[in-house]
Symmetry: C2
Subunit: 177 residues, 2 copies
C-alpha cells in the first residue's frame, strides 16, 4: 500500500474518531490501531496530531460541499435549497460529518483550527449561495436550521420519542423568505 493510500484510509478513521472525541479527547494510538498501522508510522504520514485534525476538518467541509452540489443537481432557487436541505437531513443518519463539524467549531480557540474552520464554513456558505441564488436572509435561515441539526445529532435527539425532541428534529419549513 502506498503512503498516499494509507493517508486516505487513516483520514477516514481519524474523521470518525475526532468526531466522537474531539482533538484533545482522541489519542493517536486508537486512530493508528483502527487504521491497522503502528502509531509511529502515523507520524510519518501526518507530521502532528493537529495536522491530522486540520486535514479532517477541511475534508469534512469539502465533502459537505460536494454532497450539496450533487443534491442541487440542475436545480436552482428555492427548489435547489429545498433539495440541499433534504440532503442535509440525510446526514443525520450517519452522524459522523455533523459531529465532526461541531468539533471543528468547538476547537476554534486554536488559531490554526479557527482559520481552517472559517474557510470551510465560508466555502459552504458560498456554495449554497451559488447553487441556490436565494437572498441572504433565506441563506441565513438555511444555515441556522443546519446548525440546529448539528446539535440535535450531537445529543442524539432523533432517537428520543419525547415530543419536544421530535419537534426539534423536523425539517426546516419550506417557505422561508
Amino acid at each position: 500500500m502506498t503512503a498516499d493510500e494509507r493517508r486516505t484510509s487513516v483520514l477516514a478513521v481519524a474523521v470518525e474518531e475526532f468526531a466522537r472525541g474531539g482533538l484533545a479527547g482522541t489519542s493517536t494510538e486508537v486512530i493508528a490501531k483502527r487504521a491497522g498501522i503502528s502509531q509511529p508510522y502515523l507520524f510519518r504520514l501526518y507530521p502532528t496530531k493537529k495536522d491530522l485534525f486540520l486535514t479532517a476538518v477541511r475534508d469534512t467541509f469539502a465533502r459537505t460541499v460536494r454532497h450539496f452540489e450533487q443534491a442541487a443537481g440542475e436545480l436552482g432557487g428555492q427548489p435547489a435549497l429545498k433539495a440541499i436541505g433534504l440532503s442535509y437531513q440525510e446526514l443525520l443518519r450517519d452522524r459522523t460529518y455533523l459531529l465532526m463539524q461541531l468539533q471543528a467549531y468547538a476547537s476554534c480557540t486554536d488559531p490554526d483550527i479557527r482559520a481552517a474552520t472559517r474557510t470551510g464554513f465560508r466555502n459552504l456558505w458560498r456554495a449554497v449561495e451559488r447553487l441556490s441564488g436565494v437572498p441572504s436572509e433565506a441563506l441565513r435561515g438555511f444555515f441556522a436550521h443546519g446548525m440546529l441539526m448539528n446539535v440535535a445529532a450531537a445529543m442524539d435527539l432523533p432517537s428520543l420519542s419525547e415530543e419536544w425532541a421530535r419537534l426539534v428534529c423536523l425539517a426546516a419549513p419550506s417557505a422561508e423568505d
Copy 2:
C-alpha cells in the same frame, strides 16, 4: 472562606476554562491556579473533573434560562420572543456562555454529559415555549438562529469585516412562522 463559597468561585473559573478548551482540553491545575486554591483542594470541592464539568454545563443552561426570563419580563407572544432573541444576541459580547454550550454539545459522546445536556436544552426549550407561547415552528426557528449564533461566536465571526461574516451575524428576522 467556606467550602460552598469556594465551590462557587471555582465554578465561575471552570465555566470560562471549559468554554475555551472543553473537557479533555482543560487541566484541573489551571482551574485551581486561576481560582487561587491548590489543585488537591479542588478535588475535595468536586469529586472528579467530570463532575465539575457537569456542574458547569447545568449552570450554563440554568443561567441562560434566567437570562431569558428576565428579558421576557411581563411580555408574551412574539414580542417576548423578540426580546429573548435580542438578549441572546447580547450574549455574543461575552462569548463564554455560548462557547460553553457548544462544548456541552460536543462532549455528548459521554452518556452522563449527554443526559445533562439534553436536560439543559429541554429546559431551555420549554422555558422559551412557556415565556412566549408561540407555535413550535417559530420556536424551532428561534433555536435554529440561536445555534447559528453559537457557532458564529465560536469562529469569532463578529470580529470579521468580510460581508459573508456580517450576514451570518445579523439578528433573526422578526416575522418567522
